[in-house]
Chain length 85, copies 2
């Protein structure tokens, strides 16, 4: 399915400890079915915000749309202590 | 970041046209921060159900938990006409 290539970070004592969340969505469509990723993107970010406090500028989104396959990559970096209770 | 390896399906005229949705989440944790993926899994599936009708048995979930990295792979197959209005 998906191949992983999340690169490990180099430790940097001067920075605040940060967590990273990466989300990759792929929608493979058959025939003329419409692409559902743009709608899902908003709701998935909302689901994540239920659990952690995330700045809008800490979110990096890349979308690719092809004829039969659309993909969406969401990268979020957040301080390790920003989880909601 | 993530490498793609979604394999194309072979066309099969006898089958109902199906769409596939794949979701990969990776949470890279720094220090002792807790893993957030199990909670996110439920809410992301809920977000998807807002947009399409999905049978529980059409969902395949794989989770891997390592010391600093947890990953979650969700594969969903659904008939191409099952989108909600």
């Amino acid at each position: 399915m998906f191949g992983f290539s999340l690169k490990p970070r180099k430790p940097n004592a001067a920075q605040t400890a940060k967590d990273r969340l990466q989300i990759l969505l792929a929608h493979e469509r058959s025939g003329a079915s419409p692409d559902c990723l743009p709608e899902l993107q908003r709701d998935i970010l909302e689901a994540i915000r239920k659990h952690m406090k995330i700045d809008r500028d800490a979110i990096d989104i890349k979308m690719e749309r092809g004829e039969g396959l659309s993909s969406l990559e969401i990268n979020i970096e957040f301080p390790a202590d920003q989880r909601k209770a």
